[in-house]
């Protein structure tokens, strides 16, 4: 199961770096440069990715040509959008380091930090000067 997930990620990596459509054989040859892998394995995983909506395909002779439904950036943006939207919802799905902060509060945060860091920096300068 875990190795299948890795293969999905390997194939998506390659699909995203391809310009335009690719056949199973293209991807197969690409991966075979690094390791042994069977045609059917690659085909099965690409079918799965198609079923999951990550790849679309069009018939090309007896086989299919595949292309990603979204670019990597679009997919990442959609994923992160979901992650960040969950942040203000306070679900127990994931724990953010920081919730989303309104702009005026960001300035306030910076002011508090600078104020705290300043006396320290001054004393450092003073001790350096006295040395």
């Amino acid at each position: 199961m875990h190795r299948l997930g890795q293969l999905e990620s390997t194939i998506m990596d390659r699909m995203w770096s391809y310009q335009g459509a690719a056949a199973v054989r293209d991807i197969l040859e690409d991966i075979q440069r690094e390791r042994e892998i069977a045609y059917m394995t690659v085909k099965t995983v690409m079918d799965t990715l198609h079923r999951k909506g990550l790849l679309m395909r069009e018939p090309d002779g007896r086989a299919f040509r595949y292309r990603p439904t979204q670019t990597r950036e679009q997919y990442a943006a959609a994923h992160m959008g979901e992650v960040l939207a969950g942040g203000s919802d306070r679900t127990a799905t994931l724990l953010h380091f920081l919730e989303q902060i309104p702009a005026d509060e960001v300035a306030q945060l910076r002011a508090v930090l600078d104020q705290a860091a300043q006396p320290k920096a001054q004393t450092q300068v003073q001790t350096q000067a006295s040395e």
Binding site: Y75, M80, S88, T91, F97, L98, Q100
Partner: protein, 320 residues
């Protein structure tokens, strides 16, 4: 009748205490104590109502280790109760209350955990495609223009940084964020949140549970901050919060009332107040622990005293 009334009054009083407890900064000084108190308060309100209902349904459960005797006594008590119309009504109402409250909280907790589990599973699938593992092997990196850092708890737990977050932090600050997220994972903070969410969802109208959830959400962050500050300095953790806030996205929709906890966190990290003294910690924790056992004790008291009356008929006050 006095025991159920006592328990119900106790639960109402405990719920009324919540707004007072949320005032002041005592919990911010020792977040772990605060977490325990808020959890104990939530549990004791629920337990108070459940045991009040149970005590109404079954006024004085006999206390015996003999099962057959126990069941027989139960039937006798219940039959006695049901023999009068008023008694039957009270018994039924009490029983339904107890069962309904337990069932509702249980249902909401399961729903909360299940939805979080499903959402995490989907996230992990996407991360398998998007994330690349950092060379240290400690976290995943996702290419994204908005700064964010978070952890996915559970069995296959992961800590995730966006590339923008890594860009915004220096090495020390990154270590601080990593320590903060690790503290969340180690402390099983997601379970604290899930329980607080579930109880609030079960009784959305009750301010006490809403306040408890808000407080717990803030306190687990402060607890994680404290743990992160042990391996790096407090100012480094504060700087990490500020840097990520500056590099993060700013939502154009207003957040819920009360604002964010980030300001309180940074103030607290920048100008630390001394944690609660040992005596106050002991007193507070004892009080919270007492809250946890009180409803059960009160509910069981008549049964226990009747059991004493049976086993040692002389020398012990059978009832007070």
């Amino acid at each position: 009748m006095s025991v159920p009334l006592l328990l119900f009054t106790y639960a109402v009083a405990a719920a009324a205490v919540a707004p007072l407890l949320s005032r002041g900064t005592w919990a911010d000084r020792s977040p772990r104590v605060g977490i325990f108190v808020w959890q104990a308060l939530s549990v004791t309100i629920i337990a108070g109502i459940v045991f009040a209902g149970a005590a109404l349904a079954v006024p004085a459960m006999p206390f015996t280790s003999n099962l057959a005797e126990f069941l027989q006594a139960c039937v006798m008590t219940l039959r006695e109760q049901y023999s009068t119309p008023g008694g039957a009504l009270v018994t039924t109402a009490g029983g339904i209350t107890a069962v309904a409250v337990v069932a509702r909280v249980g249902f909401c907790l399961i729903a909360e955990l299940a939805s979080a589990y499903r959402a995490r599973k989907l996230q992990l699938q996407s991360l398998a495609l998007l994330g690349r593992r950092d060379s240290s092997g400690q976290f995943l990196v996702v290419e994204h223009a908005e700064a964010a850092a978070y952890c996915l708890p559970g069995r296959h737990n992961e800590i995730v940084f966006t590339s923008a977050a890594l860009g915004a932090l220096d090495e020390d600050q990154r270590a601080a964020v990593l320590a903060h997220e690790t503290a969340h994972l180690r402390g099983r903070h997601h379970l604290i949140l899930a329980a607080a969410n579930a109880i609030h969802r079960a009784f959305p109208r009750l301010p006490a549970f809403r306040i408890a959830r808000t407080e717990l959400t803030r306190l687990i962050e402060m607890d994680a901050d404290d743990r992160a500050a042990r391996s790096s300095s407090r100012l480094t953790v504060a700087a990490a919060v500020v840097r990520l806030a500056e590099a993060g996205s700013t939502p154009n929709v207003a957040l819920g009332a009360g604002g964010t906890s980030a300001l309180a966190r940074v103030r607290r990290l920048a100008a630390p107040t001394a944690p609660l003294g040992a005596l106050r910690v002991v007193l507070t924790v004892s009080a919270a622990a007492a809250m946890l056992v009180l409803p059960l004790t009160v509910a069981a008291a008549p049964a226990v005293s009747s059991a004493y009356a049976q086993t040692c008929p002389t020398g012990f006050p059978a009832s007070t």
